[in-house]
Amino acid sequence: MPADEARVISPMGAKLKKHWRVVFYPLGMTPALWLVWQGQHGALGADPVNVFERSLGLWAFRLLLVCLALAPLRRFTGLNLLRYRRLTGLLAFFYASLHLLAYAGLDHGFDWSVLWTDVTHRYFIIFGMSALFMLIPLAQTSNMFSMRLLKRRWKLLHSLIFPAAVLAGIHFFLSFKTLNSVSAPYLAALAIVLLSRFLPRFQAGSRL
């Protein structure tokens, strides 16, 4: 579609496309701000630290799932939202970092001996922590400069998102006492976005 035509049809849409970062990054922060506001106004219930910590972790996992879903989405529906991978990936990292901060600071008051034991002894924590550490280099290299610098290795480096998602999924599963109707749909979604990569590619123009 010629550019001038797009402008005529939807000037708002074109503007949004150009300046979408300005809209979506703050939008992505609202759950965190909302949680802080709720926390300060007694709206997170009787165990606010726990709810806050878990909600941040859940948002990180949700955004990671959305980030991972964009490639299969294009492949199977043709809808191309790949440009939002950086946005969703960075927001996932942002929430995972806040989640870690809430766990270490709010929940454990930066009690290093407790945290050290957790990090060295408990698989539940080790899985979550490893997932976050894998996202660090991805967040660091999520710019055009790094892409140009690393060339092919950039893609290889960014495939770290797959083990990170698997570890985050196990960490999420272990954060409940049993499998349940809250965790099961998320785990199913993770399985779908990961496994869909192994399905045969739909050939445009083929007769099925």
Partner: protein, 312 residues
């Protein structure tokens, strides 16, 4: 211009209004006020202060009744209060059978009007590393077991909760892998300990559904999941009975489940606990967990010579 400053307590330090109102020792009519604010079906109990009421400050009534683990009504802490309205705790019969000389069937009305009901203000430590202080009203389990006259061969006590999928939505959830009804157990000497209580109420009123109506177990030196709710059957046995959480994950939840800050859960430390009731994200408190939840003086002898790491 500020001429004079006086020290102001933090909001978290002020006793909530509904809590000081519901202290029956202060005002006789206060229970009526408490009943207005929560659990419409709760009825006042004739109760008196027991020997273990202590000087603990109870967790606000609203938190005790809206922050619950009762998976029969759902897994979220708010689910039991939200989804237990269809449960019918009355009429109810409690059976004490098995290795006893005088099996008994107790009608709940009889128990609810028993002069033996006393108030016990106990610490409650959940295995998930949070804690409350709850003013229970109940009857020591030992007195009911004595009435049934245990056979000398009896070594353990098994408790069984209720199976009512039509009234308990959580029992229809197949994903959890939990086998219903919920079952728990104690060694006979633990069951006979004076601290062990069959609770019929909290805060001077009959138990709300979400807290285990009409009758539940309270074993204050053990993690909360030992406190089986809505008990229908108590059986005396000559062997250790299976228990729900142990059956599900034996490496995480032992038969004894004594509160022990030195023995961690595989997924988290048990050395400290989050105190429920602050409602403030940045003002929440964490406190050290006490051995046997602070009841070592009364119960440590039960476990003398035992390896508590192995028998966790």
């Amino acid at each position: 211009m500020v001429l004079f400053r006086y020290p102001r307590p933090l909001p978290s330090e002020i006793t909530p209004k509904e809590m000081y109102l519901s202290r029956r020792s202060l005002i006789g009519g206060a229970t009526a006020l408490g009943a207005l604010t929560t659990a419409a079906r709760a009825a006042a109990l004739q109760t008196h202060s027991g020997p273990y009421s202590g000087s603990l400050t109870p967790t606000p009534h609203d938190d005790v009744t809206h922050y619950n683990n009762f998976y029969e009504f759902g897994m979220d802490k708010g689910d039991p209060a939200a989804h237990s309205q269809d449960f019918h705790p009355l009429p109810w019969t409690l059976e004490i059978t098995g290795l006893v000389r005088k099996p008994v069937r107790l009608d709940i009305d009889q128990l609810l009007h028993s002069p033996a009901i006393e108030e016990r203000i106990y610490r409650m430590r959940c295995v998930e590393a949070w804690s409350m202080v709850i003013p229970w009203d109940g009857i020591p389990l030992a007195s009911l077991l004595k009435d049934a006259d245990p056979d000398p061969k009896a070594t353990h006590v098994a408790f069984e909760s209720v199976l009512r999928p039509s009234e308990m939505p959580g029992q229809n959830e197949g994903l959890s892998g939990i086998q219903w009804p919920y079952v728990e157990g104690l060694r006979l000497d633990e069951a006979m300990n004076p601290l062990t209580l069959l609770a019929l109420g909290i805060y001077g009123e009959t138990l709300p559904n979400q807290n285990g109506a009409p009758i539940r177990l309270v074993v204050p030196w053990k993690y909360g999941f030992k406190g089986i709710k809505s008990i229908q059957r108590i059986r005396l046995l000559d062997h250790e009975p299976p228990t729900t959480w142990n059956r599900l994950a034996s490496d995480e939840y032992g038969f004894y489940a004594n509160v022990n800050p030195q023995v961690d859960h595989p997924r988290w430390s048990q050395a400290t606990e989050r105190v429920i009731g602050s409602h403030s994200l940045f003002g929440a408190t964490r406190q050290p967990t006490l051995m046997f939840n602070g009841y070592g003086e009364q119960v440590a002898d039960l476990y003398r010579g035992m390896d508590l790491r192995k028998n966790f």
